[in-house]
């Protein structure tokens, strides 16, 4: 819907870099593509939070919910996710949805790579007895 109306690829991980352009003067973050997209990316990200909130207070059978995954996994995992998605120029939505739908070779390679590595990592955690 967003693409048909605006031609924009509403993907997620660039949101972090484009939002950092409000705070960092580094040339990397002050690049044109981030300055031009940071406003709509902020609207999109806010929408994502609200959309999930709307589901939770309307249709969700269980209401508000919190994870039992320990904080250090969220912290270390989150850092690697932020670093990796920006190095790779895409995440599950950028490569996985928009990129694959655009039949981009780079995205198809990236998706296969992060799914395989994700499967190996999460199974390795279980084998090491780290649950959750």
């Amino acid at each position: 819907m967003v693409y048909i109306l605006t031609g924009l690829h509403a993907t997620q991980s660039s949101f972090f870099s484009s939002t950092l352009s409000y705070f960092s003067r580094l040339p990397y973050f002050q690049r044109k593509s981030y300055l031009e997209s940071r406003e709509w990316r902020l609207y999109f990200a806010t929408g994502v939070i609200f959309g999930a909130l709307i589901y939770t207070i309307t249709l969700s059978p269980e209401g508000f919910w919190a994870t039992s995954i320990p904080w250090w996994r969220l912290l270390v995992g989150g850092f690697l996710v932020g670093f990796g998605t920006r190095l790779s120029s895409g995440c599950t939505s950028g490569h996985g949805i928009s990129g694959v739908a655009s039949l981009s070779t780079a995205s198809i390679v990236a998706v296969i790579t992060f799914i395989v590595v994700g499967v190996i990592t999460s199974n390795a955690m279980t084998l090491l007895g780290i649950t959750p």
């Binding site: 929408g47 994502v48 932020g82 895409g90 790579t113 499967v119």
Partner: protein, 135 residues
């Protein structure tokens, strides 16, 4: 708020709602998908990629340009070493914590406050990447 931002906000609401309905907002469900125990997310991602495939490849045959102006341009990236290295690092983080950028934001919407740790860490990771490895 201009019309483009209204569209992005509405699109975000639909996306976040879908991630919550599909279960991807819960890192536990993502991890059980990665352990190949719960393959429901394959359906979610398949439907998302399929719908987007139609929007990118078929709709532009009938429309010269996006309804609110702009340009139809498929999302392509050059395949470089960084594409693969970044995907490996992302995969480790994904398998470790069950969160990715979109699912983390929707997770906040379902009331999962601990995910703020993950979101803050994602900003830190994106900053370190741009600061030391960005070009």
């Amino acid at each position: 708020m201009n019309s483009r931002n209204v569209v992005l906000f509405a699109g975000g609401i639909i996306f976040g709602f879908g991630l919550a309905v599909g279960g991807m907002a819960k890192p536990e469900i993502v991890l059980s998908f990665l352990q190949l125990k719960d393959l429901g997310l394959v359906l979610l991602m398949g439907v998302a990629a399929g719908t987007t495939f139609i929007a990118i490849n078929i709709v532009p045959r009938f429309l010269d340009e996006p309804i609110l102006g702009g340009e139809f341009k498929p999302r392509t990236r050059e395949l470089t070493r960084n594409t693969v290295a970044g995907a490996v690092i992302f995969g480790v983080g994904w398998g470790l914590s069950g969160q990715c950028p979109g699912s983390a934001l929707s997770s906040l919407g379902i009331g999962n406050l601990p995910i703020l740790i993950g979101i803050a860490a994602m900003f830190a990771g994106a900053y370190v990447m741009g600061r030391f490895f960005g070009s």
